[in-house]
């Protein structure tokens, strides 16, 4: 039972281009939507996050767009750089204990 669906599974983008990763959820009880970035050999680390009462959040080159009615959210990486090459996970949290459901991940490769 996949509660958070993520696409694409892999993505190749030219340096300077825009990387877009999409996620969809079903559970309307989710109250917080973080994105995690994972480099090879490392654990995931929080990149950016949004709450459902906001439609967009921007931090530097990273933007989350959130569509509550469609139950979809996406990560946009502007001016993608080779250093952005990593695996990205969208996630959604319900209520107590900070329990989070993760998407299946997107492996991003930014080529020079």
């Amino acid at each position: 039972q996949q509660q958070v669906k993520q696409s694409p599974q892999s993505l190749i983008v030219q340096k300077g281009g825009i990387s877009i990763i999409n996620c969809a959820y079903e559970n309307t009880a989710f109250d917080y939507f973080p994105w995690y970035q994972q480099f090879p050999g490392k654990g995931p680390a929080l990149l950016i996050a949004i709450r459902p009462d906001v439609s967009e959040k921007k931090e530097g080159r990273f933007t989350i767009s959130f569509n509550k009615s469609a139950k979809q959210f996406s990560l946009h990486i502007m001016d993608s750089q080779p250093g952005d090459s990593a695996t990205y996970f969208c996630a959604a949290r319900t209520g107590g204990y900070q329990k989070v459901t993760f998407g299946t991940g997107t492996k991003l490769q930014v080529i020079p």
């Binding site: 490392k42 995931p44 680390a45 996970f89 949290r93 204990y97 900070q98 329990k99 993760f102």
Partner: protein, 117 residues
């Protein structure tokens, strides 16, 4: 700086062996989690703990158990390892507001790559 450490980076075990994976956090976090990460499947929650001696099953608890005797330490136990438990195991911790670090963030260790032969 917040830190989550895992006892081993790589581990090779035989089928049927009992395996212990240990995780320690130094942030005084209430919540701790064990995930396994497999290609194409993302991170799947095995167990989590919201307090000492308290535990809850995650999405895939079969074949695993956990122990949390101290706040900073959360152990994952494979009672009888099987080849389908070959995976990357990630530990994480998070705060409800009293520990160090952001409230809404899970902090991950570097992972243990377990191979069961």
């Amino acid at each position: 700086d917040v830190k989550v450490t895992q006892s081993s980076r790589y581990l090779v075990k035989r089928t049927g062996e009992k395996v212990f994976l240990e995780c320690v956090q130094d942030m005084d976090h209430e919540n701790m989690f064990w995930y396994r990460q497999d290609p194409g499947l993302g991170l799947r929650l095995i167990y989590f703990s919201y307090d000492v001696k308290m535990k809850e099953k995650g999405d895939i608890p079969e074949g695993y158990s956990v122990s949390r005797e101290k706040k900073e330490r959360f152990s994952l136990i494979l009672e009888s390892a099987s080849t389908n438990q070959t995976s990357m195991y990630l530990c994480a911790s998070s705060s409800n507001g009293l520990g160090r670090g952001g409230v809404d963030t899970q902090y991950f260790g570097p992972g243990t790559r377990l191979t069961v032969l």
